[in-house]
Each structure stands twice: as C-alpha cells, then as structure tokens.
C-alpha cells in the first residue's frame, strides 16, 4: 500500500475537500494504483540531475512599478456568490 485511507483523509483536509465514505474508498484504491505506477521513475538514477521547473530560459520578468487603472470594483464583485457594494461576504470568522 502506497497510501492508506487515513492518509487520504489527511490529504483531503489539506486540499480543502470533503469526501464521502464511498469516494474515500475509491480514491484510496485509485491513488494506490497511480502511485504504484509512479514508482517507475525510481528505475532512473537522477543523482545530480537539475530539476526543470521551467522549459524556456527566462529570467525574472520585471515591469515598471506604476499605478495603472484596475477593474471597477462592481465588475469584480458581480461574480461573487455573496457581496455588498464594496466587499465579498464570507461566513463569520471571529
């Protein structure tokens, strides 16, 4: 077993997902199969190989730090599931 049902529960908590008992069973089984397949990578000795996180040679992309017109607030709030004229509304935190 690569991953146990308890670990699946833990990962779901980290990922902010709520999963049903049925999903938990399925996910554990599927993730085990997939992770077992990933073992294949260990056939390769990668000692000293630089990891590639970006495929094209690029350096930091800087821009001038200038104030620019942004979106009108109402337009952004239009897509919010819950908002007043100025803010997103979320369940009480404090």
């Amino acid at each position: 077993m690569k991953i146990t049902i308890e670990e699946v529960e833990h990962v779901a908590r980290l990922a902010r997902l709520e999963i049903s008992a049925e999903e938990k069973g399925n996910l554990t089984e599927q993730m085990n199969r997939i992770l077992l397949y990933m073992e294949k990578l260990n056939e390769l000795d990668t000692t000293g190989v630089e990891p590639t996180s970006h495929v094209v040679d690029l350096h930091n992309a800087f821009r001038v730090d200038a104030v620019k017109q942004s979106f009108p607030r109402e337009q952004i709030l239009d897509n919010a599931p819950e908002a007043n004229e100025a803010e997103f509304i979320v369940p009480r935190i404090i």
Binding site: R16, L17, L27, T46, P51, H54, V56, P81, I93
Partner: protein
C-alpha cells in the same frame, strides 16, 4: 461547397471577391450548429446575436484591411479561455455562472484581427481529461462516429471543426489536449512552443505546461491563426519576447534537405497496427517528397506519463486552490464556518477527475513526499527535455503517432483513470519539453475513424512543423474528407 465547410483562407478569398458575406456564412454555421448540436454537443454556449451583429458590421466595413486577417471569419473558442461578458465555465460546475470581466489576450487578438466569436466549446473539466467525458455538462461526441469520444481536453473545439460547426477554433494543450482530439477528429491541431502564445486569460491548469493553439480544417489555417495569436505579452511573464516569423512563408518550402527523426520508442507494443500502418505510410510520403528519414532514440519516453501525472496535478492542486466560494464560482450555503464553506463549495463544485488530481497533487507536494515524487519528476523532466535537444542535433523534426489508438468508445475507460492517463503516452513528452507539436490527418481505421500524424520541432521552430505538415497534407486527401453526419 457549403459555406460552413469553408476554411479561413477560402472564406477570406470569397469575402474579398464579394462572392459571399460574413452574415451569410455566420448564419449558415449557426444553422449547421442547431442541426448537429443535439448529436455532437461541441458547444457549451453560443453568442449568436453578438456574432450576427459583428458579421453585418464587417459586411458594411468591407474586407480590404490588411491588419484584419480574420475579418468576417466565424471562430469557436474553448471554454477555458476568458471571453469578456460571455460565460467561461471551464466545463465545471464550480464556474457554471462565471462571466469574465476581461478578455484573454488571445481572445482580444482574435477580435482585433476581425474574428467573430460563435461560442465556447465543450471540454474536460479544467482541461483534465483525454476524452471530454469529464465535462460537467456532458460529453462531446466524435463526429465520425457518435458512439466514440472526440478526444480531450479540447474535444469540443476539435469536434466543432470536424463537424463544420465553425471555420476554425482555439484549444489549449497541457499534455496533448490539442493534438490528441485533433487526431481523433481528423483535423489539424497545433500546440506551439511553451511561451510562444500568451496564457493571460487562459484559466490555469498546470502553468508550466499550458499553451493555447489553433485547431483547424487544414495546415494553412493553423498557420494563419497562429500568426494572429503568437507573440510576447507583457501580461504573461512566461511569454517569450521573440519575434514571430511569417508562418505562411514556411508553407511554400519543400522537403528537400529536411531530415526526419523517427523515434523508435513511439513504435512499441500497444501501438495499434492500423495506426502504425497509417503513420508509416505518411513517413513514406514524406520521403518521396524529398525528406530523409532516420531512426532516432528518445530513451526517456516511457517515463513521460509518470512524470507528467506528478507535475501537472501538483501545479493543478495549487492553481485550483483559488476556487473557494468567495470571489467567484459556486458557494455552498450550509457550511457554518469559513472552513466548512470552503470544503463544501469545492466538493460540490469539482467533478471526480478534478478532485482526484487535486488529491494526487496535494499528496506529492506534501511534507515527506515532495522529494520522492515532485522533485524526482522534475529531474526526469530534465532528462526528457535533454532527449529532444540531443536528437534535434541529428534531425530537424520528429515524426510519430499522436496516440497509440484511434478514438475509443464512450465509457470504455472512465472507470480506470490510469488507463486513461496511459493513452497520453505519445503527447506528454513534447509537453514536458515545451516543444511545438502539430497533429495532421494521415489516415483512417477500417472502422472509419481518423488517425493523426504528430510532427515535433525544436523550441520556437513552429515554421518547420508547419512546413512538414503542409507538404504531407498537400500530397494526401485525408483533410478533405467529411464525417458522415
């Protein structure tokens, strides 16, 4: 020839000669869409009123402006690309009501070039899938056989092009999502070099892999569309400030002096005999046209699937953290606390495959597993990239199958995610390396399903891929066949 069957270049000629109008063509396509959509389901939304108004506007203004190479051309855009004022759902319930307040750079470029947006095309949820069966709104069907999948994740765009429900379309490719559906639907699909086309306004799946590209009825159209969308964009810090060549110039070059690499790792067990036969035929045609074929080796090919399905889900798990029910998208109303609201909103909004990838990605990035999985995958990515750099010293392009089989039947792989992932084996390495790849029709199975040839070129050598694809196309007639709809 029916108006809806036209390519971009054919339509542009007819418009310039006054032989048809943009309004006529656009109306003819919507008529086609209404007739076929109950069967094909290539679109998630249509913007008919705006499109017809745009078309009439172009008819008034005329088609002489050289800076408007797409004036009057009706196009479809994958629903993962933001369109201002028009719903962009990403095939997901979590964004079922999301209306972007801005255009993606590519959308803007299409509009500025005079293109007319017909609607947004169906896709696997958040571009995660190889069959379009992961769309929250139901799968698109393959126009060549409605019992088969169109491929994915840009299955809607590929099917719309194949069924003549648009003149051409845009898709996005993270691990094959343009090339594979284009292959399965018998059309041309082109993933440019990572960084060639701006990703601004492309809803992120795996940011180090995602790239937008054209899906079209022929290679000329792919060149024309790429010309419009390519180029540096200050709003995408990973877009590359490199001049964009004239891609139509590549098309007139022959194949004399071109050496093709045939990677032996792409002709292995699991490759269906009919696919291999069509690909070998295509290679023969290319040789007859003056090209020289040599066998080459990309030794790390078989590690592509494992590396990709660690890297892409890892990036996805981070990118998709933004869907929290606060700023946009689905919100659960029952959860009492903020955390409960997050969890419930995400669990209700995301489909099974998206959850699976978020889980996988979160796992491989979590404490204790990062080095074993994520870092290891990034190192293997280096080896895969170096494989390509090495063979491109011996040949200018690589020629290979796009997928091990033609389209498979709906439902045949949905219960087995690993089998589904393995079907991407021939498209993933180029994605991991960031090189351009085109899929061009090269045959049909005995069942009448299309087969595509994949042509891979070095970074920023899109012109070479187009050149080879065009020569093959002009010497075969697969691209002229139409599905029996």
């Amino acid at each position: 020839m029916k108006l809806y069957e036209l390519t971009i270049h054919e339509l542009r000629r007819l418009l310039a000669q006054g032989e048809t109008t943009a309004a006529e063509v656009t109306a003819s396509i919507y008529e086609r869409i209404k007739k076929l959509e109950p069967k094909v389901a290539a679109y998630l939304s249509l913007s008919e009123e705006i499109a017809m108004e745009e078309a009439r506007g172009w008819d008034k203004r005329g088609f002489g402006d050289k800076t408007k190479p797409l004036a009057g051309v009706p196009l479809a855009v994958k629903d993962v690309i933001c369109t201002m004022g028009i719903r962009t759902s990403c095939g997901s319930n979590i964004l079922a009501n999301f209306v972007p307040p801005y255009d993606a750079t590519v959308t803007l470029k299409l509009k500025q070039a005079g293109g007319i947006l017909l609607g947004k095309t169906n896709m696997d949820e958040f571009a995660m899938g190889s069959s379009n069966e992961n769309s929250a709104f139901g799968p698109t069907r393959n126009p060549w056989n409605l019992k088969y999948i169109p491929g994915g994740s840009s299955g809607g765009s590929a099917a719309a092009v194949a069924a003549d429900e648009c003149i051409a379309a845009l898709g996005s490719d993270t691990g094959g999502s343009i090339r594979q559906p284009a292959s399965h639907c018998g059309v041309v699909g082109f993933k440019p070099t990572y960084g060639r086309v701006s990703r601004y306004g492309l809803v992120a799946f795996a940011s180090s892999l995602d790239q937008i590209g054209p899906i079209s009825k022929d290679v000329t159209d792919a060149a024309l569309l790429l010309q419009v969308i390519a180029g540096y964009d200050e709003r995408d810090s990973t877009s590359v400030p490199k001049e964009v060549p004239d891609y139509t110039e590549s098309l007139v070059q022959g194949l004399k002096g071109i050496t093709f690499g045939i990677p032996r790792e792409y002709f292995v067990e699991g490759l269906e005999p009919e696919v291999e036969k069509a690909v070998r035929e295509a290679i023969k045609t290319l040789e007859e046209l003056g090209g020289k074929a040599i066998e080459v080796s990309l030794p790390h090919t078989e590690y592509g699937v494992a590396a990709y399905y660690i890297i892409a889900p890892a990036e996805a798990s981070s990118n998709l953290a933004r869907y929290d029910g606060v700023k946009y998208g689905h919100r659960d109303r029952e959860g009492k606390t903020l955390l409960e609201m997050y969890r419930r909103s995400r669990s209700e909004g995301f489909g099974a495959e998206v959850k699976r990838r978020i889980m996988l990605g979160t796992y491989v990035l979590s404490a204790g597993y990062y080095d074993a999985y994520y870092k290891k995958a990034l190192q293997v990515r280096t080896l895969i990239r170096e494989d390509f750099l090495e063979v491109f010293k011996k040949c200018q392009v690589l020629v290979a199958p796009v997928a091990p089989s033609a389209a498979f039947s709906l439902g045949s792989k949905v219960d087995d995610p690993l089998q589904m992932y393995l079907s991407d084996v021939f498209t993933l390495p180029a994605s991991l390396a960031g090189i351009p790849g085109i899929s061009v029709p090269c045959g049909f199975t005995s069942e009448g399903l299309p087969i595509g040839l994949q042509i891979l070129a070095p970074h920023f050598e899109e012109g070479l891929a187009l050149q080879v694809a065009y020569n093959l196309e002009q010497n075969t007639d697969f691209h002229r066949r139409r599905p029996p709809l």
